[in-house]
């Protein structure tokens, strides 16, 4: 009896059932059940699935396998033993496209800390809104820096355009947020309480370009931490430290007049007036919603419905607004100040992820009843999480940038039950950690993320994970040398 069981564990086999959410790599019904040896790992299972008899893919697709909500990181046998499962049961293997470990690709150096990055590519939002395709290889990376300048880079690390200085109509203070509205239009916000719209024109050879200020938007009484843009409706949403959310338009004609008390007076304004040679049109907000009691740190459009906006604030709340009436729809109170916000429309139409000062990411759904605010928390960062960006290819992926000097890649499908110390609930852990390249030499991360804080992160399908921070570098990471089949 003992012999038999010993032998079966040595060269055991287990029946598995493959299933997936992605219809393009779905197996035909009769092939889903299979008996595999228990000593295979993820790679072995991936090879089995990519083989001719199974998926018959032209190029192998790296796949990850989820059993009971956790990624398979050991052999099947070790997993079964660790979880006390019999090898006679059928194991449900949920296979997903593997997240490629993001490898360091390049970094572009700046003069000062970089507060934000955005990407323009054929698959980015700005690129998709415009009918005209952004050619492959013509992707652009936009960075906003604390020196008050915007820079547009091509993928080979050349700054093909830099915005003008404050004397020529640029920002008079540090830029906090910048976005492509379209391949020819950029919006940026800064600590000088203004949003500026820029016209971006590239030369024919694509190696030089011009950033021309088009419009200055006044109205906020505090620095503007974050903006979100919606190209088709020409709307900009801003979040300011004065606790208000602004809705703006990029069209000169339809924008209201700028409030006069916001523009003049003060020595800085005086000096600028003397120096400014070009006069940029100044406009005001379509509406300012003062609903938060503390600085608003992020405001975003609902990706599926541009009349709905969400905002996250240091007063611990996430609020939902109806932009057509500027009315507050819903308030969700969390337990920590929130610093960043992003929507994950792929899972449910209103799933939001918010980065907190308490070093974790909170996932919540504003539609659900107020009693169950928190769906899941993602833990692992060691400092404030100030930037979030969803995975362009997966509905469940997410990248976060934190003051601890790392970007972390998360997959929401893998989770575990939180300990009592963590407050229970579902807890997710990072799949990959992207370190700063500038810090690679150092063995230990500095206290408080000094010198390597990440302020902005963007994840693009064509470019990869673009992150920027205190080390004055824009860093690009992506899984290299792996071709992916186009999703249907």
């Amino acid at each position: 009896m003992a012999d038999v069981s010993g032998e079966s564990s040595r060269q055991g086999q287990v029946q598995v059932y493959f299933n997936t959410d992605s219809p393009d790599i779905e197996l035909p019904e009769e092939k889903r059940q299979l008996i595999v040896p228990t000593d295979v790992r993820r790679y072995g299972l991936s090879q089995i699935l990519n083989s001719e008899s199974m998926l018959d893919t032209p190029a192998p697709i790296p796949l990850d396998f989820i059993i009971n909500g956790t990624f398979l990181r050991t052999t099947l046998d070790e997993y079964l033993t660790a979880n006390g499962l019999s090898s006679e049961t059928t194991v449900n293997l949920h296979y997903v496209r593997s997240l490629i470990p993001p490898l360091y690709e390049a970094s572009f150096e700046h003069d000062d800390w970089i507060s934000c990055v955005d990407v323009l590519s054929g698959s980015s939002r700005a690129g998709a809104w415009e009918g005209r395709e952004v050619l492959a290889g013509q992707e652009r990376i936009l960075s906003g820096s604390y020196d008050g300048l915007l820079r547009v880079w091509n993928k080979s690390g050349q700054a093909i355009a830099t915005s003008v200085s404050s004397s020529a109509g640029g920002h008079t203070s540090s830029i906090k947020s910048a976005r492509f509205i379209s391949p020819t239009q950029i919006a940026s916000s800064a600590l000088d309480r203004t949003i500026r719209i820029w016209k971006y024109t590239e030369a024919q050879d694509h190696f030089s370009a011009e950033l021309k200020p088009v419009m200055e938007l006044y109205g906020h009484k505090g620095g503007i931490d974050s903006i979100d843009v919606h190209g088709p409706s020409n709307r900009i949403l801003s979040a300011s430290t004065d606790g208000s959310i602004g809705l703006w338009t990029t069209q000169k004609s339809s924008a209201p007049e700028a409030p006069s008390n916001m523009i003049t007076s003060g020595p800085t304004a005086k000096r600028r007036k003397i120096a400014t040679s070009t006069s940029t049109p100044q406009r005001g907000p379509l509406s300012l919603i003062s609903s938060h009691t503390a600085p608003v740190t992020a405001a975003i459009f609902n990706p599926l419905d541009s009349t709905v906006a969400y905002s996250a604030s240091q007063d611990h709340t996430i609020k939902t607004f109806d932009l057509t009436t500027s009315g507050l729809v819903d308030t969700r109170t969390t337990s920590h100040p929130l610093l960043s916000l992003t929507a994950l429309p792929g899972i449910s139409t209103q799933l939001l992820a918010a980065g907190t000062t308490a070093r974790h990411i909170t996932l919540l759904d504003p539609r659900m009843s107020a009693s169950s605010t928190q769906i899941m928390t993602l833990r692992g960062h060691t400092n404030k999480i100030v930037s979030l960006s969803p995975d362009p290819e997966s509905n469940y992926g997410l990248v976060s940038g934190s003051h601890d000097g790392t970007c972390r890649v998360w997959d929401l499908r893998s989770s575990r039950q939180g300990t009592k110390d963590e407050g229970g609930g579902l807890v997710g852990e990072a799949v990959y950690v992207v370190e700063r390249d500038s810090q690679k030499g150092g063995a230990k991360r500095p206290v408080g993320g000094e010198g390597i804080k990440v302020f902005g992160v963007a994840w693009d399908k064509d470019v990869g994970i673009v992150s920027a921070g205190e080390d004055k570098m824009v860093q690009i990471n992506r899984g290299r040398g792996v071709t992916r089949v186009e999703g249907s």
Binding site: W113, Y146, S173, S174, L191, R193, H220, K221, G222, G223, T241, D242, N261, M262, I263, T264, S265, G266, P267, T268, A269, A294, P295, Q314, D315, P337, L339, T357, A358, T382, N383, K384, V386, H403, D421, P446, V447, G448, G449, E450, K453, F455, E470
Partner: protein, 780 residues
């Protein structure tokens, strides 16, 4: 054998001696020995004395049993007369030696009697004829079926069912019918079977013959078994876990030793000892259990040395003197005869043996004459050992305290339950050259202002740690203190460098607030020119206490709008909650140590002409018109409206460095250079309610959280901050609960200075600290 013989000898000597006088003290042992026959007769008379009745009886019977008397003087005869009637049955034969003798004596006459006596009696029947009535046969041993169980039924081994149809169930030894035992009425049985009572089983209890019914308890057990419950009522299958070892992992345990392995293993030593005992029991070396009788006997055998504390007594019969020590023998002589002297081999054996193994303590030695006998060679040795015994003997019984140190700790809630509080350093603010002397978070919670020894005031973005603005206000002197003006209507920063206090408007606000702030600062210029200047005694114009002026265009461009020049170095700025008054302290000054400035009038006043001691710091009360002034040893509170001293608080510290008033207004914390942190309840006493001394070095700053969290913190020169949970209950009956929750380490100690200032975020449980290492840190 020898000692016991001596024993007996010892005992017997006095016994013989006293025999004629007293016979009462005879011991039983001597009866057993049978040595002294003369006493026996006396003892009998003694016995008969005790029971006079018994004596009388025996006296009466004596004539009958003369013959027996000669044989033994025991009291058996009286028994014999009583047992005479039993003897024909031949029942009792005792194995007593005296009894058998008696039986043997009587044996002969008995059979004669038996033959003569017939086993029947002759009576006359109804006809007058002879009728023999036999006595009942007693089968005793003559019964032939000895194996059969004793039964009165003689029907033999046949089933009882044969007699089912008869009213009897058999016959007894005399042929009489044994009637069937009475049973319950058939009707009763029928009724029982119809009206089934609770617990009826239909069975008959073989022990009692009654119907076997189940009791209520038994029924309940059956019901529980059927419903898969625990059969026993009240049994808890899942009792609450008894935590023998705490599940909570301490960060700083009282003992860092890990739980030893032996706690989890069965003790080998114990097993060994148990096995030793088991083996001893098996081999019979120890008796597992002795009946109490035996034990008593043994106890009686224990001997006591009755002469151990013998003192000379006058001669008395009750006094048994101690035995004499044997007189010295020949071998103790200084010149013993040669036969007593040891041979060479004996001598060597004596010398090589251990002192305790030697048969004799001395070695017989022959000295030619008495004068050749040397001194006692062991004299010194013996004295030394005696002294050693005396001074090494413990004279005081030491009571070891066996108290669990954990039980001495006060019952405090765990820090995890008191969250949130700052735990980690999340942002560093690096930029100051030299020490950062002071820092403050603005009322909106977005900006951090700091001032350092490099003479600059800097404003930082609190969350990112980016320096936004900087102004150099002190040319040679460092900035000693920076404080924001309370209130959100204007953004004004006050900073003191040297003798000057500056009011600044950093360019971080929107134009509207900026304008409002500037207007607020400029409003007082008219008042300043109109202010009447006091005259001194000799009529000369008195020099004003402070001069309010513009700082010059260079600084004005940077946002420094007003410069107030005082006479001595300003170390402390404290704002009134309304934002119109602020007070400065210059400890080195004699009279004008404390100054109160009115922003709207550009007016400086000196409220105290004399202070008892060097002023250290001042505070306005958060809600009432009270003003607190700390000197080196005391804190005085003054009523500003009535202009009188209200209270003198005596923390008992040698040198107060800073204090802060709880936003509720009834409590106060004081930090001192002698490492103490003191909590005062102003309603309770002028003495501290709690004194904490957790720092290695001087405490530089203490601060309450003003935004609703029950937190306070102190900063020390040992480079650490300590965060406390200090919950003040509005209920007057309850004292404040103070729990240290976190030590924040990170600042480097530079030239004996660690953390110089702290401040709390106005809303969040975050604090910032200014270090002598040139950095500020945000902890959250």
């Amino acid at each position: 054998m020898a000692p016991s013989a001596i024993d007996r000898k010892r005992k017997s000597v006095p016994a013989e001696h006293n025999e004629t006088l007293e016979t009462d003290i005879e011991s039983e042992a001597e009866f057993g020995d049978g040595l002294l026959e003369g006493i026996l007769s006396q003892s009998e008379s003694e016995d008969s004395d005790e029971e006079s009745n018994a004596e009388e009886e025996s006296d009466e019977e004596e004539p009958e049993l003369d013959a027996l008397e000669a044989l033994d003087s025991d009291e058996i005869p009286s028994e014999d007369s009583g047992s005479e009637s039993e003897e024909p049955i031949g029942g009792l034969v005792k194995s007593n030696g005296t009894k058998t003798a008696v039986v043997a004596l009587r044996e002969k006459p008995l059979p004669d009697e038996e033959e003569e006596k017939p086993n029947y009696t002759v009576t006359t029947d109804a006809n007058g004829g002879e009728r023999y009535v036999y006595e009942e046969i007693d089968p005793v041993y003559d019964s032939d079926d000895s194996d059969a169980p004793i039964t009165t039924n003689t029907i033999g081994d046949i089933p009882l069912s044969f007699y089912d149809s008869y009213p009897h169930i058999g016959y007894d030894i005399n042929g009489k019918k044994i009637m069937r035992p009475a049973k319950g009425e058939a009707l009763d049985a029928l009724l029982d079977s119809i009206d089934i009572p609770k617990g009826w089983t239909g069975l008959t209890d073989p022990a009692t013959g009654k119907p076997l019914n189940l009791s209520q308890d038994e029924l309940e057990i059956l019901r529980r078994i059927q419903t898969n419950e625990m059969p026993e009522e009240g049994y808890d299958p899942y009792p609450a876990t008894v935590e023998y070892f705490t599940g909570i992992e301490e960060i700083m345990p009282l003992s860092a030793a890990p739980e030893p392995k032996r706690r989890f293993l069965p003790s080998k030593h114990e097993a060994k000892r148990v096995m030793k005992i088991v083996r001893a029991i098996r081999e019979g070396r120890i008796m597992p259990y002795r009946p109490p009788g035996e034990r008593q006997e043994e106890e009686e055998e224990t001997h006591y040395d009755i002469w151990q504390d013998e003192v000379p007594r006058p001669d008395h019969i009750m006094n048994i003197p101690a035995p004499k020590i044997a007189p010295p023998g020949y071998d103790l002589s200084y010149n013993p005869p040669p036969e007593y002297l040891p041979t060479k081999a004996e001598k060597q054996a004596w010398e090589t043996a251990d002192p305790e193994d030697r048969e004799k303590e001395y070695l017989p030695t022959s000295y030619g004459s008495l004068r050749k006998v040397p001194g006692y060679e062991k004299f010194i040795n013996e004295r030394f050992e005696r002294s050693l015994d005396l001074y090494l003997a413990p004279r005081v019984r030491k009571n070891r305290l066996n108290i669990d140190p954990a039980s001495l700790l006060p019952k405090l809630p765990r820090p995890e339950e008191l969250k949130p509080f700052p735990t980690v350093c999340s942002t560093l603010f690096r930029g100051h050259e030299g020490r950062v002397r002071s820092l403050a978070i603005d009322p909106s919670g977005v900006w951090l202002a700091s001032g350092g020894d490099d003479g600059t005031v800097r404003v930082w973005e609190l969350l990112t740690g980016k320096q936004i603005w900087s102004a150099k206000i002190g040319d040679d002197e460092g900035v000693n203190v920076v404080r924001w003006r309370p209130g959100r209507d204007a953004v004004i920063l006050s900073a003191a460098a040297g003798e000057d206090v500056y009011l600044l408007v950093p360019p971080i606000v929107d134009p509207e607030t900026d304008a409002a702030s500037r207007e607020l600062l400029d409003k007082g210029f008219g008042h300043a020119t109109n202010a009447t200047q006091a005259l001194t005694a000799n009529g000369a114009r008195k020099e004003p206490v402070a001069k309010w002026a513009r700082p010059g265009s260079r600084l004005e461009d940077e946002g420094v709008l007003i410069k107030i020049t005082l006479r001595t170095t300003v170390k402390v700025i404290s704002w009134h909650r309304r934002g119109d008054f602020f007070s400065t302290v210059s400890p080195t000054a004699q009279k004008s140590a404390v100054a109160i400035h009115t922003l709207s009038k550009h007016l400086t006043q000196i409220p105290f002409r004399r202070l008892p001691g060097i002023a250290q710091t001042v505070q306005f009360h958060p809600s009432r018109p009270l003003f607190f002034v700390a000197t080196q040893r005391t804190i005085r509170s003054y009523d500003l409206q009535k202009q009188e001293l209200v209270k003198i608080i005596q923390p008992g510290a040698r040198w107060i460095s800073s204090f802060d008033i709880h936003p509720g207004g009834d409590n106060l914390i004081v930090g001192s250079y002698d490492r103490r942190l003191l909590w005062h309840d102003l309603d309770l006493s002028t003495r501290p309610y709690k004194t904490m001394r957790f720092h290695q070095k001087a405490i530089r700053a203490v601060k309450y959280h003003k935004g609703g969290f029950p937190l306070f913190a102190d900063a020390s020169d040992d480079g650490s901050l300590q965060i406390f949970h200090g919950k003040v209950v509005s209920d007057m009956m309850e004292n404040a609960q103070i729990v240290p929750v976190k030590v924040l380490k990170g600042h480097r100690v530079k030239s004996n200075l660690g953390v110089l200032d702290i401040d709390w975020h106005p809303r969040e449980p975050w604090c910032v600290s200014a270090g002598a290492d040139g950095t500020c840190r945000l902890w959250c």
